[in-house]
Subunit: 97 residues, 2 copies
Amino acid sequence: MTFRHVVCFRWADDTTDEDVARFTEMLVGLPGVIPELRRYHFGRDAGAAEGNFDYAVAAEFDDRDGWVAYQEHPEHRRCIEYVRPLIRDRVAVQFDV
Amino acid sequence: MTFRHVVCFRWADDTTDEDVARFTEMLVGLPGVIPELRRYHFGRDAGAAEGNFDYAVAAEFDDRDGWVAYQEHPEHRRCIEYVRPLIRDRVAVQFDV
């Protein structure tokens, strides 16, 4: 089984490319410190479709406990605190596969 | 390289479990007819967090052309037509990995 987690962000008007690049750098570090992260992809919207949000994060865990460990990990909490003021909207779903 | 596509749905108030089950059945058939779909996962939100959307679809392609083939495939168009009246909100992101 796999437990999947997807999040889409829409940035606030005053969020800069540098803010987003810094956030991306922070995410790059997470798989190295959170072993429960089996797959972890993230990035800016490619501009391929109208009306999209601006950024997505997609993660896979063996089970819900893995996702909880990720949610609660201090390095991930640091990413959340960093990104919070950059966001206008956030949409998330977790689902079992 | 991988081109990723994530979509989150929030259902309309009158969307039923049967509507969602039928939509899920339709998605199950897509990898068999769209060879560009390298990985394809979808499902109802697990209820693990407050404020989530209701359903997500996560797809992977070798490149943007693969995603375009998926977007335009008649069987996928049929899924889109089916799901459109069931949706209150839809959020999508495509991104390169």
